[in-house]
Structure formats: C-alpha cells, structure tokens
C-alpha cells in the first residue's frame, strides 16, 4: 500500500516534468536491492500516475510525448480560450474512466487475449497499412505532411538519442507556440462547458487494446487512425491510460511488455491471473491520487497563468523545451527540434490535419514491420 502511494506520488511528479519518464525511474530502481513486493506496485502506480498528470505540461507548456502529441493542440487551444482547466478535467476524466473500464474488462480480456493475439500477429503489417491508407485518403494535402514527417522520423529515430521528445515537441508543441498570435493568456475559468464524451473513452480503451496487440504503435499513432475531428483530447487521454492499465493483464496472459516499467516488472516477477485484482487496486489508488494531484495543480496554474505576460512565457517555454531537447539528445536534439518545428508550422500554414504529422512514427513503424524484411 505504501509502495502504491509512493509510486503514485513519484509518477505524478515525473508526469509534470517534460522529458522525464517513469522508464528512467524503473531503470534506477531495478539497480537497487528493494524487494519485488515493493517495486512491482511502485512501478505500476508510477506509470499510471504519470499518464494522468502529463495533462498538465501538454496543456500549459505545449510539451509533447508519443503519448500526448495529439492532445497538445486541442488542450493548448482551450487554454487560449480561457478553458485550460476544462482541458485538464477532460483529460483526467477520460484517463480515470479508461482505467476503470480496462479494470472491469480485465476478466474478459484474460480469456480472449491469448487466442486473438495469436490470430492477429501474422496480419499486423497488413492491418496497419490498410488503416493508415484509409485514413490518409481523407486528409488531402495531409499526405505531403505525412510523407515529410515520415521521412524525418526515418532519419532521426535510429540515429538520435531519445529522439521522441525533440521530434514530437517540434511537430506539435513549439510550432504551435511560435505561430500563436495571442499576447496574453485570457482569464481562466473553472466552468465546464463540454459534456463528457463517454463513447470516445470506450474507443480509447479499444485503441489501447489495439496498441497493445500491434507492436511499435504509440498512443498518438493509434489515435491518428481514428478519423474524428472532435473528442481528440478524450480519445488520446483514454488510449494512453488504457494502454498503461492493460499492463498487468498483458503481463499475466501474454508475458508481453510495452514499456520500460512493464519490462522491469516482467524481469522481477511472474504475474499470474490471481494477481490481477491486487494490481487493479494499485492502479485505482494511483488513478485517484494522480487525478486529485492534477486537478489541484491545474487550479493553481489557472490562477497564476493570466498574471504572466504570455509572449514572454511562450519564449521561456520554447527556450525550456530547447534546453530539455539538448539535455536529452545533445546538439542533434536541437537540430531535430528545429526541423520538426518548421515542418509543424508548415502543416499549420497548409491547414492540414495535425495528426498527419504522426507520419514521423507511423511510416518508420510500417517500414520496420514490412514482411519483406523478415
């Protein structure tokens, strides 16, 4: 119980800091002599909490990760309408509901996953190509952005240390911040205008499942395959949360790990179906703690933000994101950030669907999984 609470706290903090991931925490903790009964709930709680609190940097700072890239735009847009708190509430609500849905679906998943995974595995590449082709056909000029960002992804993903932060922050974060013409953040309200979009939460859980079954898929990659204009914030947040909440059942049934935290858990213990109830408890505690932590932080941020000169704050954020990219990936990170920012700005000028810039992950994934290589 203490491990779950501590993990929730640590995950809440890492989620708030752009560029910091629970995989790093997992790598550090694995080198310690802490008992596995402490490490397993700690790592799971940290991963769950991280997915919830990362709504704060994506809304207020425009910092993107593979999990939140497509949520940055709508969340930041809402911030500039004075609805930053609502954006955070939508993301948190979607995440918590997706975690609850996933926990409730766990017995069914434990039953059907082994057979469905075996059936889907040989078809993975064809399914991905088909879904991507159908989606691209609806995006017009977006195909150009898809190909250019895909080319950028092919060049940088294997040749740059920790490339995702610079790549996705450039495409979705700094490019948005640079083209913003507002000179101040409007007064923020805590009123909630949009009704909860439950169907997108269910789609998000489905997306999380698809993502777990298809290798090398990221949250934004999966979300990009759902061609909806509205509800993206709910969809991305719920896919992200469902992906993490599926970790225990994936480990128990398929012994399949998608993240560094899951790899760490898999290396420590053999998770079985009887452990799923206990791990469900860990995830619920983490979801509760992180959601409250995020809401309190958002309340604080919305009081402080309107008092800060927006242009100066934007400049500081862009510099901060640049420094983070440099610390994570060195000089090459800055180059990737600049190139991705230019491409992200270009896609905004062309008024293409922003999701097409996810070609930076989708195209390399398709190339990597192409059956011609295997």
């Amino acid at each position: 119980m203490i491990a779950a609470l501590l993990g929730s706290l640590v995950g809440s903090i890492t989620g708030m800091i752009p560029g910091l991931h629970t995989n790093l925490v997992a790598a550090i903790l694995l080198s310690t002599m802490l008992p596995r009964t402490f490490l397993v709930p700690f790592l799971l709680a940290a991963a769950i909490a991280h997915t919830i609190t990362d709504a704060i940097p994506s809304t207020y700072l425009g910092a993107a990760s593979s999990e939140t890239a497509l949520a940055v735009m709508p969340a930041h847009k809402m911030l500039l309408q004075g609805r930053g708190y609502e954006a955070v509430v939508i993301a948190v609500r979607a995440s918590v509901l997706a975690i609850l849905c996933t926990i409730l679906l766990t017995p069914l998943l434990a039953w059907i996953l082994p057979t469905s995974y075996a059936a889907i595995k040989p078809l993975t590449w064809y399914v991905l190509v088909g879904l991507t082709g159908v989606w691209l056909a609806t995006t017009g000029k977006g195909v150009l952005i898809f190909l250019l960002s895909g080319l950028l992804g092919l060049i940088v993903l294997d040749s740059t240390a920790q490339p995702l932060f610079a790549l996705l922050t450039g495409l979705f974060g700094t490019s948005t911040l640079l083209l913003t013409t507002e000179t101040s953040v409007p007064d923020q309200t805590t009123a909630l205008f949009d009704r909860p979009q439950y169907r997108f939460v269910l789609l998000g859980v489905l997306g999380g499942l698809v993502m777990n079954l298809l290798p090398a898929m990221s949250t934004s990659h999966t979300a990009a395959l759902f061609p909806f204009q509205a509800g993206h914030l709910t969809l991305v947040s719920s896919i992200n949360a469902a992906d993490q909440a599926l970790t225990p059942v994936m480990l128990a049934v398929l012994e399949k790990a998608r993240s560094g935290s899951a790899e760490a858990i898999l290396s420590l213990v053999r998770i079985g179906v009887p452990h799923l109830l206990w791990l469900g408890g860990v995830m619920l505690v983490a979801a509760g703690v992180a959601a409250l932590f995020t809401l309190v932080t958002a309340r604080f941020a919305q009081q402080v933000l309107p008092k800060i000169p927006y242009k100066r704050m934007n400049t500081l954020i862009i510099v901060g994101l640049g420094v983070t990219a440099f610390l994570l990936s060195g000089h090459r990170g800055l180059l990737v950030l600049a190139t991705a920012t230019a491409l992200g700005a270009f896609s905004q000028i062309l008024r293409c669907p922003r999701a097409t810039a996810m070609g930076c992950l989708i195209l390399p994934t398709l190339v990597r999984l192409a059956p011609i290589q295997s």
Binding site: T37, V96, G280, G281, V282, V285, A287, G288, L292
Partner: protein
C-alpha cells in the same frame, strides 16, 4: 465539487480496500539451473560459464567453479542471453 473529484476519491478508496483485502504473493520471475561453473573471471562483475554454455553473471556474489544449483533469471544483454544469479 466536480464529479471527477468524487470519481477520483472513489477510485482511491476502492483501490485501498482492494489492497487491504488482497495479498501480493508474487513469485520471482526466476529459473533454476544445475551444472558446473567453469572459466571464472573476477572483476567488477563475477563471470563464469555453466555447462550449458550460457554466460553466468553475479553482481553480489563471487562465483566459484564447481557443481551447484543456482537460482536466477535469464536476461538479454548486448544481444546475448545471460543467466543472472540472484
């Protein structure tokens, strides 16, 4: 107070109750190997070979050549499988 606050508090309380009523009897993800350790090298990490020709690594114990039963886990390191003694 928004519904999300109640939902979060509900999650927290139910989660704590689940943690109270369930116990984590987690088996280690380890395997056992029986064999003779040969070619021991002592350095920062103590290394040797089992008869299976799988490299054996121990971070906190000095390996001794000879027959024995060892508990640990298999892990991938630089593209090779290693047996890490725990």
């Amino acid at each position: 107070m928004e519904n999300i606050v109640w939902l979060s508090l509900g999650c927290f309380v139910v989660g704590m109750l689940l943690l109270l009523v369930t116990s984590p009897d987690l088996p280690p993800n380890t395997i056992s190997a029986i064999g003779i350790i040969t070619n021991v090298q002592h350095g920062k990490v103590s290394k040797g070979m089992l008869q299976t020709r799988i490299p054996v690594v121990s971070f906190d114990k000095k390996l001794e050549e000879g027959s024995g039963m060892y508990t640990g886990r298999l892990q991938s390191y630089k593209g090779r499988v290693e047996f890490v003694i725990e």
